[in-house]
């Protein structure tokens, strides 16, 4: 027995020393934290799916990188929109082809829109529900008739993806015949390269479930070489400049970080925790970037319950929540204290002038101010009023609202594993609110439970969650419009203000951008004063890449991932040994011999062992 083990251990150790060969051509390796779930664009929902799929489809119009200006893509130009025009015709380029050589046509876009509407694909419906009809007048002309002109016509509908109609059309009959057509569409699982066509910069090659996905450069990509010129003189020239991209799965950030340092991957495609930064900075081959995310973390009140329904109460709480402390300590300055619902990273839309409760004040000033706000209403009283004595806050006791003691209430926070920052913030807020005598506890709760209680049952006092946001802040309407007060509606705090509603409705209809920005600013002011949400912080996307393999990364809102099709290899392809086949053969021998050795050793060892036994 023992001999067998020694042989096996030696064999494994020897095997581990044998190098693995690499493939010819320039490969860009990215690390992903989870595998893609599907290659079906109707089902694809998480970021890992889209990290792969996003390079296969080209919208009619698109945001250009960095400043998010809307530019034409497959469409020849961006249509002018106005709230009183409901009929639009869009002309398409005629030089775009699918990876199987078939041309990309207006039918491919129309089919997508019509399928979304016919099969009720929930995640795309909001971009298509106001579209009465969409049809291809000819191969390169699309015609839309709208029931109402919304901003999402351009920043949603026209950014929708095309699907190869010669692949999908023959399947329609089968989908329609299914018991549940919507499900049938979503359950279709393409896995082979001839089912997953691309008209974008990359072409799908293979998918080894649980391990990696591989795509290659599209040699016929219509947009290669496109140049964006910016006001500050920088230029971006569209690639891609690598031959292959391999999406490798690393379940933990630790493994990915090590992979990056070892050179297994060139880029970790998710925001890493700031704790890794100091370690990474020590490695000269690794660069760490820090960009604002278009997202926000907030604490919501249940405005249908007392005393949370009281604006003064919410203002007092906002005064007590030391967002500077959160930024400095909890976020370690990776991220920004937030006072408006629109994050500062979304520069065009962010109102810098909103009221910043308690900004820059120490706790010894915040407490008296909060007490002051509350006392002005005449509704609040204390058994022991909170005071500040010799620079130390003496917490209040027995706080009353309208003559009755405030009942203990709970802040639901996500668990540490989901987001340690929010869990930590919740705990700090609990301590701060206790300073004025509020009987509050922070309760870490499973994410699903919070959503169910907050969005479904509306059974909560306060909770801490977050949103990932869009560039156009139409969410200002969704989150706070009184029409969204319903089960699973988005107005979770149940905030209701007719004036706000009117202004918010205005925000989502088509019109000149300047007017819309003004409306968004007004809405942000309303929210900063009435505080259905207390915005806590805007997180940062801290990312890391290897600077010795590819260069040309650029920063923008939400991180550097848009750079992928713009980055250039640092080592030119000529420098790597060219004849790939030869090298493969030479290196291929090593592992084969190693394996052979292992097998022989194991067989030999077992024979010796068995002989001994007998």
């Amino acid at each position: 027995m023992k001999r067998l083990f020694i042989v096996a251990v030696v064999a494994i150790l020897v095997a581990s020393m044998v190098p693995v060969h690499s493939q010819g051509g320039v490969t860009f390796n990215v690390g992903m934290q989870d595998e893609p779930k599907t290659m079906n664009p109707f089902q694809a929902q998480d970021v890992w799916d889209w990290h792969v799929l996003t390079y296969f489809y080209e919208g009619l119009v698109t945001y250009r990188p960095i400043d998010f200006k809307i530019v034409p893509n497959v469409a020849l130009e961006v249509p002018e929109v106005s709230s009183d025009i409901l009929d639009y015709t869009v002309k398409l380029r005629d030089d775009v082809y699918w990876s199987d050589g078939k041309p990309l046509t207006a039918h491919d876009y129309a089919l997508f829109g019509n399928m979304v509407k016919e099969f009720q694909i929930g995640r795309y419906l909001s971009s298509w529900e106001f579209v009465e009809t969409v049809e291809a007048l000819d191969d390169y002309t699309l015609h839309f008739v709208l029931s109402e002109c919304r901003v999402t016509f351009i920043e949603g509908t026209l950014m929708s993806l095309p699907i190869p109609s010669h692949i999908w059309e023959p399947k329609l009959a089968e989908f329609r015949a299914a018991e549940n057509p919507t499900k049938a569409v979503q359950e279709y699982q393409p896995v082979e390269p001839d089912e997953i066509l691309s008209c974008g910069p990359l072409i799908f090659m293979e998918w080894q479930r649980g391990s990696y996905v591989k795509s290659k450069k599209n040699p016929n990509y219509f947009d290669t070489g496109r140049t964006h010129v910016y006001d500050d003189g920088t230029q971006l020239v569209l690639g891609p400049y690598f031959d292959y991209i391999v999406y490798r799965i690393y379940d933990t950030t630790d493994a990915a970080i090590l992979g990056l340092k070892k050179g297994e991957i060139d880029y970790i495609w998710w925001a890493i925790q700031p704790g890794y930064v100091s370690d990474l900075l020590a490695d000269p081959n690794v660069t760490v970037t820090n960009n604002p995310e278009n997202g926000m973390r907030y604490m919501a009140f249940n405005c249908a319950r007392e005393p949370f329904s009281d604006v003064a109460f919410r203002q007092a709480v906002a005064t007590l929540v030391d967002r500077d402390f959160i930024q400095e300590r909890v976020l370690q300055n990776y991220g920004e204290a937030l006072y408006s619902v629109v994050p500062p990273g979304n520069r065009q839309w962010y109102n810098t002038e909103v009221k910043k409760w308690g900004y820059g004040q120490p706790m010894t000033e915040r407490v008296p101010e909060a007490v002051n706000i509350l006392k002005q209403t005449g509704n609040y009283s204390w058994d022991v009023e909170p005071t500040v004595e010799e620079g130390v806050v003496v917490p209040g006791e027995g706080m009353k609202y309208k003559g009755e003691y405030i009942k203990p209430f709970v802040i639901l926070t996500p668990p540490a594993d989901y987001d340690p920052l929010r869990a930590m913030s919740g705990m700090l807020i609990q301590e701060w609110l206790k300073q004025i005598g509020l009987p509050v506890t922070a309760q870490p709760t499973a994410f699903g439970t919070i959503v169910q209680k907050a969005m479904g049952e509306r059974d909560y006092d306060m909770f801490v969650l977050g949103w990932s946001l869009t560039i156009y802040p139409d969410y200002l309407r969704d989150f706070f419009h009184s029409s969204q007060i319903m089960e699973y509606g988005y107005n979770i705090p149940q905030y209701s203000n007719p004036e706000f509603d009117r202004l918010a409705d205005d925000l989502v209809t088509c019109g000149p951008r300047g007017e819309k920005i003004q409306a968004a600013f007004r809405l942000q002011e309303y929210l900063a004063n009435e505080l259905p949400y207390i915005p806590l912080f805007a997180p940062a996307a801290v990312e890391a890449y290897r600077n010795d393999h590819f260069s040309g990364w650029f920063d923008e809102l939400d991180g550097i991932s848009d750079s992928i099709v713009y980055i250039k290899p640092v080592v030119t392809p000529e420098e790597t040994p060219a004849p790939a086949a030869e090298e493969k053969e030479a290196e291929g021998d090593g592992p084969c011999l190693g394996t052979l050795f292992v097998v022989l050793a194991v067989i030999g060892g077992s024979t010796v062992y068995l002989k001994r036994r007998n």
Partner: protein
């Protein structure tokens, strides 16, 4: 009762236990307050659209209907569709099961052989340095949190020395190359599995070693050992043929009990090493509220445990000819 009859009876018991576990699972998961649609939140999705999605997953049906549906599907070998992957759970389990079996059974076989061998030796040479050393070594790993050992191992062997890959089961370089032969692929898997397998083995072997030691010490007091010695048989023969074989019985018994408790080590190991097995899948599925997937992975883990129990019982009968069923 004949052996076959016994096995049939045990399989029936396994089946019954599974149904009970399934029912518990169902109740548990329906009690779970989370809503799978929560993970498809999209700032631009309206409540009506969410309702459509809920209906698609059958979440709008009454609970008894969902239960019957669930049982019916189970008997048809259909475990439903994963919310998160939107694929049949059966396919997902089928993908992950071989990896898990490779890792877990590998670790059990190696650690138990190692434990039994060492236990035998240290009991035979009681009080030696080997006993002290291996007991201390084994106990340390036995008491260490396995994920912590895993992280340290990952750091030293994968990162510092680069002996092994950092995670996963298949390396893209080998598997994406059509010219890679079977041997090369096998070798690649071996490289990936070595580190998690070693960590799991280290965590497991102390248990079997100590039980073997105790049981061996007891066996060595039996009269037939004295008889064997009196006959002048060689020491090794007495140790291996006479004592060890009998001393192995309690090890097998404790294996049956320990296996249910020790799969946790497997789950944590898989998670630490990003090993694409059932253990990692159950953690991921639970954290994403993927009811069908978490249920199925749990059921399959339970099934693995039950089968391991059955194997232990059969092994017991094989080792102890006195047992008549």
């Amino acid at each position: 009762m004949s052996m076959q009859k016994y096995i049939v009876k045990r399989i029936f018991q396994i089946f019954l236990t599974l149904i009970i576990i399934m029912t518990i699972m169902f109740i548990l998961f329906r009690m779970m307050p989370g809503d799978p649609t929560a993970f498809m939140l999209d700032t631009r999705m309206t409540p009506e659209h969410k309702a459509i999605i809920r209906a698609q997953f059958g979440l709008d049906k009454p609970i008894w209907y969902q239960y019957l549906f669930y049982l019916r599907n189970f008997f048809r070998g259909n475990f439903g569709r994963s919310f998160y992957y939107a694929r049949p759970v059966y396919d997902l389990v089928k993908e992950k099961l071989p990896a898990t079996i490779l890792l877990w059974t590998g670790a059990y076989i190696i650690s138990y052989s190692l434990g039994i061998t060492l236990g035998k030796i240290i009991a035979w040479r009681r009080g030696g340095k080997l006993e002290f050393g291996s007991t201390l070594f084994g106990l340390f790993f036995y008491c260490m949190p396995i994920f912590w050992v895993g992280l340290i191992a990952l750091w030293i062997f994968s990162y510092k020395f680069g002996f092994f890959p950092l995670g996963g089961l298949k390396g893209p370089d080998v598997w994406s190359d059509p010219s890679s032969g079977m041997l090369l692929k096998a070798y690649d898997v071996l490289k990936h599995v070595t580190l998690p397998l070693s960590v799991l083995t280290l965590a497991f072997f102390a248990g079997s070693m100590l039980v073997m030691r105790t049981s061996m010490l007891e066996t060595l007091r039996e009269d037939y050992i004295m008889t064997a010695r009196a006959k002048g048989l060689p020491e090794k023969t007495i140790r291996d043929r006479h004592a060890a074989r009998n001393a192995m019985l309690p090890v097998v018994t404790t294996f049956a009990i320990a296996v249910a408790g020790s799969v946790g080590g497997g789950v944590l190991t898989e998670t630490t090493f990003s090993y694409p097995g059932l253990g990692k899948m159950i953690v991921d599925a639970t954290l994403t509220f993927d009811y069908p997937l978490a249920q199925a992975s749990f059921l399959f883990i339970a099934l693995l445990v039950l089968v391991a129990n059955l194997v232990a019982d059969i092994l017991y009968a094989y080792l102890d000819p006195r047992i008549v069923y």
